[in-house]
Symmetry: C2
Subunit: 159 residues, 2 copies
DNA sequence: CTAAACTATGTTATATGATAACATAACATC
DNA sequence: GATGTTATGTTATCATATAACATAGTTTAG
């Protein structure tokens, strides 16, 4: 795990979520805030059913059913607060919700930690390729699996 | 649909599959060939259960079970003959099986037609971004949803 | 202030996608 | 043709996601 202050991460994400909801004229309900918080407590993508269990453990809710979670995930995705990581069927906090399009997601295959990295030159290359093929982009996803620096070092020191 | 000769497409894909299997020292069995053929009969990504049904309809097999299809899909993926389109949970023929990494997949949200477009500058941008973050890429997926040229034209003429 | 409209959540059932575990068959090699 | 290997069949089950409808909570207009 990178050494960075998680609490600050979470606080920032929630603060931003409140702003976004205000701007969009929608409500950040308790449920939505709880799920967003759970997601941000990891930098790993979390599956919907895991989130369901976490929600049962970490709130006074007793029985949480799938639709509850999926609706909330849909809401958070719709307002750019989280991403779905399709290669894992899992969900991760969005660190730059102001962008139209999804950035590159770097996913470590060892620790699962996921970083969203904005990159103009990737975007430009995609846009160029799209326009060359007269293709109008609505949505895109770039997921990159591999090993992060800390995990590589750790593996090296293990052997 | 682009006007291009499908049969040539399919034939080329099967020819290439035979080469690849020969090189890799594995067998292109009847089942594998049938599924590869079914996949190539579309330029749209097909789901595993749809393929299962198509296989029952288009072969003398009576009951095809999920593992049969999934094992075959795994085989075809492993040998670079098809791609899984994660955003659709579906499978599409790979048009350039010699590459290490997956190219950009342009998926039309109207007709579903999918094109795999190799693009060095996208790949370079990804590699650069990865190396800047000291991230070792093992695998990647870039899926771009939007509208293809024919569908845009068609829509324009409809209105 | 309360009825109506809208938004959010609860509940039950089910659809869809994928795999585990073990049995059988086909093929290859000696 | 016995043996090991690869491929496929079979049954059950897990994992992911949604449909459809019921209830509750919020907002707004009259």
């Amino acid at each position: 795990m990178h050494e960075h202050n998680h609490q600050i991460c979470i606080d920032q994400a929630l603060k931003r979520a409140k702003q976004v909801c205000l701007q969009h004229g929608v409500r950040l309900t308790e449920l939505r805030e709880q799920i967003l918080r759970l997601i941000w407590q990891n930098h790993k993508p979390l599956g919907a059913y895991l989130l369901m269990n976490l929600l049962e453990e970490n709130s006074d809710r007793e029985h949480v059913a799938p639709p509850t979670v999926y609706r909330t995930l849909d809401f958070l995705i719709e307002h750019g607060l989280i991403h779905k990581v399709h290669s894992l069927n899992a969900y991760v906090g969005c660190s730059s919700p102001n962008q139209d399009r999804c950035n590159a997601l770097f996913i470590c295959s060892v620790c699962g930690e996921t970083e969203e990295i904005p990159n103009n030159s990737i975007q430009q290359a995609i846009n160029l390729s799209a326009s060359q093929h007269k293709f109008t982009v609505e949505n895109q996803m770039l997921e990159i699996m591999g090993k992060c620096q800390p995990c590589k070092q750790k593996k090296a020191s293990d052997s």
